[in-house]
Every structure is written in structure tokens, then in C-alpha cells.
């Protein structure tokens, strides 16, 4: 599969067309029927989760939330290409990719409910922490991969997600430049969803593509149809394999530009109708990754209508269970605020904690909490 990486930066890789037909000359990646159905199920689950999360925010049951609808193909397709020992370095919108990697949906909800415990990745899950400042996680991904290389590991790839806006930040340049110089086992996965809040992709850079930026760092960049989960899977899989086992004279890192669209707002705090046309949204909705994969699976008899109904019932339950579990979790103990700042709490901070406890005792928590 390594061949799919070897393309011109603006030669977009596709497997499925908008009707779920395999495009001429493309090869369906080597996934068994169960894996293909699982890909579909996870994308549907992510979409339903997203719809419910936006609705919960509207009802005041969670805080500001960054939606992912439209981006399920890029997230699930790429995440499924990782092996069990590989690492994922997310930004803050990778709810579906993180789910594939092993983060329960309940935790994603808890995080956006304003509970730091939502960001506490389970011990056995190779997922780095959420990074909100744009592009700031990219050098970390390079450093993680570099450490793996320096400790003579040969079998791990480090997949880092970021958006189109992130490519304008200095951290993007520095992270990719180090990756090229030190030949680290990285896959830099750019979710180009066309909009950095209100600023369109063409105002971020005068470059023809984002993928071509990789060329300047000495390694390959490839554009993939980010709303085609099979193409995303194939390209990511090839990049992961190359990161671990490059050909003679080939550098390990790859930058993937997954061309896609966010159907909703940047976060629940903005209104896209102020800055983009509905006509454009509709044009991209025709490329929706979920019906594309569904049509392909139905036509190739990997799925029938009854399976689709079963899957829909199943995901409805899973999302409802995650919401119930998140909402049943009590507000964290405020003492947690003082913990995990240092390995050992300094004396001065202990004194502040004591004073805080005396204020709680004097006034009661109800008085301290705003409505």
C-alpha cells in the first residue's frame, strides 16, 4: 500500500465516489467485512453522539462543544489504520478518533461538561491529552516519536491531528521541520475542514494545497478525500507503515491533508451563517461520508437494511448510556483543584487549601457557587 503515498501533493486520493461506487483504478483497502461494518457503525455512532452533544449544549447540560459532523470519515478511517502499539495525538475535535483509540464517550462528555477528569486518558490507551491552543500539540507529537526512536523502538507510529488553521502557526512549522531533520516516525494528519472559525482555507495560505508544505520539510505530503473513509484508511495505513519501516532513502514522516468539511459550527459558540453560504454547506453535504460508505456496503452485500436498523438502535442506546453515565457523575470535589499541580503539594499551596476549606466551612458551598 505504500504506493498510495507516492503521489503529487495535489493529486487527491479517492476510493469511493459520492455515490459509494469504487472509482476507476482504486483499490478497496484490505479490511474484512466485520471491520468495514465496524467502520460504518463507529461513524454513525460519532454522528449521533455529535447531534446529541450539540443538543445537550443548547439545553445547558454541557458547556461549549466543538462538533465534528462531516468529519467522521477522516477521523474513523485514520484511527482504524493505527496498530495496537501506535499513538494518537489529538487536538480537541477528535471525539470519534479518540473513541476508536479507546477513550469512552462518557469521558468526552465529562470534559465538555467542564470536568478535567474527562481528559484523564485510561492507563492502557495510547492517546495523548487534548490540546486546545492551535497547533501546539504538533511539536509534542514529534517529540513523542523522537523519544520512541531514541529508545530504539522500531514498531510505533505517532499520528497527530490538527486543522487547516493550524498550518499557519509557528508550531506547525517547527514540529514538521524537526520531524524531517530527525526523521521521526510521525504521521501528520491535517483535517482541512475549510474553515478556521470564520476564516476560509484560502485566507490561511497562498499555497495551492496544504499537503505541499510537507515537501519543504523534505518528506511526502498527500491529499486525500477526507470524506472518503476508505481512501483515508488506505493513505493513513501506508503512512503508518512507512513511519515504522521506510524504504531505502525514504524519510519516515508523512503529512496527510484530508480534504473535508465541518457541517456545523466551529464550536457551539459561533454561528456559521454569519460567515459562509448555505449553498456551500449543501454542496459539501452531498459528499457526506456516512451515506457513501453505507451505499458501498449495501451494494456489496456486506450490510442489509435490517442491519442498518439494528446498528441505529444500538448506537442510540450507546449514546444514551454515555450521556446518562456522564450526567450521573457528580461535580468533582473542589479539593481536586489543588491536586495534581505538583507531585507533592508545596507548603504555600497547602496553606491556600486550608484557607479555602475555612471559607467553605464558613459560608457553605451553595453561597460560593453561582446559579
Amino acid at each position: 500500500m505504500t504506493a498510495s503515498v507516492h503521489r503529487e501533493p495535489d493529486d487527491m486520493v479517492r476510493v469511493l465516489d459520492e455515490d459509494g461506487e469504487v472509482v476507476d483504478g482504486a483499490e478497496v483497502p484490505d479490511l474484512d467485512d466485520g471491520e468495514l461494518v465496524e467502520m460504518y457503525r463507529t461513524m454513525k455512532l460519532a454522528r449521533r453522539f455529535d447531534e446529541r452533544a450539540v443538543s445537550l449544549q443548547r439545553q445547558g447540560r454541557i458547556g461549549t462543544y466543538p462538533p465534528l459532523s462531516g468529519q467522521e470519515g477522516a477521523q474513523v478511517g485514520s484511527a482504524m489504520a493505527l496498530g495496537g502499539d501506535d499513538w494518537m495525538v489529538p487536538s480537541y475535535r477528535e471525539h470519534a478518533a479518540s473513541l476508536v483509540q479507546g477513550l469512552p464517550l462518557k469521558q468526552t462528555l465529562r470534559l465538555w461538561m467542564g470536568d478535567e477528569n474527562g481528559a484523564r486518558v485510561p492507563e492502557d490507551v495510547n492517546l495523548f491529552t487534548v490540546a486546545v491552543p492551535i497547533a501546539s500539540q504538533i511539536p509534542h507529537a514529534t517529540g513523542l516519536a523522537w523519544a520512541s526512536k531514541l529508545t530504539d523502538e522500531q514498531d510505533k507510529a505517532f499520528l497527530c491531528y490538527f486543522g487547516d488553521g493550524a498550518t499557519s502557526e509557528g508550531d506547525f512549522h517547527e514540529g514538521l521541520n524537526f520531524a524531517g531533520v530527525f526523521d521521526t516516525p510521525n504521521v501528520f494528519f491535517c483535517n482541512n475542514n475549510q474553515w478556521a472559525i470564520s476564516v476560509p482555507r484560502e485566507k490561511q495560505t497562498a499555497s495551492k494545497t496544504l499537503a505541499q508544505k510537507a515537501e519543504a520539510y523534505g518528506f511526502e505530503g498527500v491529499q486525500v478525500d477526507g470524506m472518503d473513509p476508505l481512501a483515508v484508511y488506505a493513505v493513513t495505513k501506508a503512512a503508518v507503515e512507512k513511519a515504522k519501516d521506510p524504504a531505502e532513502g525514504e524519510l519516515r514522516p508523512t503529512m496527510i491533508e484530508a480534504v473535508q468539511y465541518r457541517f456545523g459550527a466551529h464550536t457551539t459558540a459561533d454561528d456559521p451563517s454569519v460567515y459562509r453560504e448555505e449553498e456551500e454547506v449543501q454542496k459539501w453535504k452531498a459528499k457526506d461520508p456516512i451515506p457513501r460508505l453505507e451505499k458501498f456496503l449495501l451494494r456489496t452485500d456486506r450490510l442489509d437494511e435490517a442491519d442498518v436498523a439494528d446498528i441505529e438502535a444500538d448506537i442510540e442506546d450507546r449514546v444514551a448510556d454515555a450521556i446518562a453515565a456522564a450526567e450521573e457523575t457528580p461535580r468533582p470535589d473542589p479539593v481536586e483543584m489543588f491536586q495534581n499541580v505538583y507531585a507533592e503539594m508545596p507548603g504555600r499551596l497547602e496553606k491556600q487549601l486550608e484557607w479555602f476549606q475555612s471559607i467553605r466551612a464558613e459560608h457553605g458551598d451553595e453561597a460560593l457557587l453561582e446559579d
Partner: protein, 325 residues
């Protein structure tokens, strides 16, 4: 006749009036143009002044601050916005290495008359990095002025004064009170001088120094104590340069002081005020100075932020400690 405006509307009004007054003034930043800013602080300016004076930039804070420095040195008066003060750090190198030092390094040949605006502070249930109060970073840096309005009237007047100031100003806007209340704001440009504190409530028993979004809960605590303890509340408004005269004269009157800020306690601006009182008015001091502040912890997410931020009950307890000493 003026208009009844919220603080964020007053910021917008100040930008609008000064852009109309002075063709060299321009606004730049992420989402400030077509979108009108994530808090709507630049709403309508793109339509009124066009894309060369209300500029949507690439997503790059070092680029925003650095290019604004170049523009300012070349004679324009840029007013860049950083979307949240928690995202100023990619531009921090430009701020401390160049914005603050251009005048000094060039011995006055180049100057940097720009205003870097950013919403700051907590209380809006925001994600990580959207709630911090790091004013002390900038107060610590010689060559910068640091202004924090707490009312709509001051927001407009101080912003215009900052734009007209020959030196760079960090203008931090307390987003918790962006829309908390309205106030009569005069039409047309006017200045509220930088470096002058405002006594929000006169009192004789204890002086409480505060700024930004903490001003209102501090006044509320003072009102709750009225009849029992007579609290003077001083809104510093400008943290660099500090209005030492107002601070010291208030303390000389009361002999007791408390300081209220959202920022963590250690090396917060409260420490500088305390040291100034020691240096300038030790013989008037009747009790230890009490600091009621955020804790020395990373700003918590929404579920715990009410426990982090000082509110009237905590402020009152702190004031009583110094009064009852």
C-alpha cells in the same frame, strides 16, 4: 447625548469612533472581520471600513503581533486582537522582545504605538486556556502599559486613550462583564486617562484595591458590610503604570488594606501593591495586608471555576481578617 452600552459594545464604539477620527487606526486578528469577532467587539467595522482596515489574518498570534509591530513602527496605529488572552503566548516573544523594547533599543528612533486587545479572566464556563488572568506577565515587562477597564464608560475612553498613547498598551477586557450591565457612554471619541485609578466607593476603615471583573463583587462585599465596616474600594484601572498616589493616599487614610484579584496569589499584582504600601506608608499600617485572589493552581474548568474565583462572601471574609486583626 450618549447611548446605553454594555462593556463590549463600548469597546466596539471606541474602535469605531477612533477609526473614523484617524485613518491610521486599523484592526486585525482572527475572525475580527466578516465574523465581527467571537465576542462581537468588532461587529460592523468590516462593513464600515473595509478589509484593509479590519483585517482577518491567518491563525498565527506571533504573526499578528509581529506584523502589527512593523506597522506601528512604520506610522500606522494597529489595534490587533488576540481572541482570548490564553492564546497570547505564541506572540509572547514578539510582545516582550520587541513590542516592549523597540523604543529603548532604537533610542527613540522607532516606536510602537499599538494596542493589543484581548478578552481575559474567568467566569464564562469556557474550555481550557479561555479563563486565565495573566496581567502580571505584562506588568512585569518594562515598556508596556497595561489597562483593564471595569465599566463601559471607561472601556471606550481608556481604549481611545490607549490608541492615542505613544507607547504600546496591553488592553485586557474582562469578558465576564462584557454584557453584565449597561451604562451611559458618550457619543464620539473621548479619553479616560491611563494611569489613573478610580475610587468606586469611599470608606474610612479599610482600603480594598481591585480591577476588572473583580470590581463589582468587591463593591458588593463592601455594601454588604456597610454599617459595620466602612470599606473604600479603589478600581486601579491601569496596572502599569500604577497610580501610586491614589493607592498610598487611600491607605494613609484607612491604615488597612486588602487586594482582590482573579490571578493566582504568588507574584500577582497584589504583591507589588503590598510592597509599595510597605515602602511608602509603613508607619500608617495597622494590620497585615490581605490578598483575596485566585489560588496558585491552573485555572480549573467550568465545574470548579466558581470555587476558584473570589466572590462577595470570600472577599468579605478576607476584608474582615485585616479589619479584625
Amino acid at each position: 447625548m450618549g447611548e446605553n452600552l454594555t462593556l463590549v459594545q463600548a469597546v466596539r464604539d471606541g474602535l469605531r469612533d477612533e477609526m473614523a477620527e484617524d485613518d491610521d487606526v486599523l484592526v486585525m486578528g482572527e475572525d475580527v472581520g466578516k465574523n465581527g469577532g467571537v465576542f462581537r467587539a468588532t461587529e460592523g467595522l468590516y462593513d464600515e471600513f473595509g478589509e484593509e482596515r479590519v483585517i482577518d489574518t491567518p491563525l498565527a498570534e506571533s504573526g499578528i503581533v509581529g506584523t502589527a509591530i512593523g506597522m506601528a513602527a512604520y506610522g500606522l496605529k494597529p489595534v490587533p486582537e488576540i481572541q482570548f488572552s490564553g492564546f497570547m503566548y505564541p506572540g509572547f516573544d514578539q510582545i516582550v522582545s520587541h513590542m516592549a523594547r523597540l523604543r529603548t533599543r532604537s533610542r527613540g528612533r522607532f516606536t510602537c504605538p499599538m494596542v493589543l486587545r484581548a478578552p481575559f479572566g474567568g467566569g464564562i464556563r469556557a474550555p481550557e486556556h479561555h479563563s486565565e488572568s495573566k496581567e502580571a506577565f505584562y506588568v512585569h515587562e518594562a515598556g508596556l502599559k497595561v489597562a483593564i477597564p471595569s465599566t463601559p464608560h471607561d472601556a471606550k475612553g481608556m481604549l481611545i486613550a490607549a490608541i492615542r498613547d505613544p507607547d504600546p498598551v496591553i488592553f485586557l477586557e474582562p469578558k465576564k462583564i462584557y454584557r453584565a450591565f449597561r451604562e451611559e457612554v458618550p457619543d464620539g471619541p473621548y479619553e479616560v486617562e491611563l494611569g489613573e485609578a478610580a475610587v468606586r466607593r469611599e470608606g474610612s476603615d479599610v482600603s480594598v484595591f481591585t480591577w476588572g471583573a473583580m470590581t463589582r463583587p468587591t463593591v458588593e462585599a463592601a455594601e454588604n458590610m456597610a454599617g459595620d465596616v466602612d470599606v473604600e474600594v479603589v478600581d486601579l484601572r491601569t496596572l502599569s503604570p500604577l497610580d501610586e498616589e491614589t493607592i498610598v493616599s487611600s491607605f494613609e487614610k484607612t491604615g488597612r488594606a486588602a487586594i482582590v484579584h482573579e490571578a493566582p496569589k504568588t507574584a500577582g499584582v497584589g504583591a507589588e501593591i503590598t510592597a509599595t504600601l510597605q515602602e511608602e506608608a509603613l508607619l500608617h499600617q495597622e494590620a497585615p495586608v490581605k490578598r483575596v485572589t485566585g489560588f496558585d493552581v491552573p485555572f480549573p474548568l467550568a465545574a470548579l471555576e466558581d470555587y476558584y474565583l473570589p466572590e462577595p462572601e470570600r472577599i468579605e471574609s478576607g476584608i474582615r481578617e485585616t479589619v479584625e486583626f
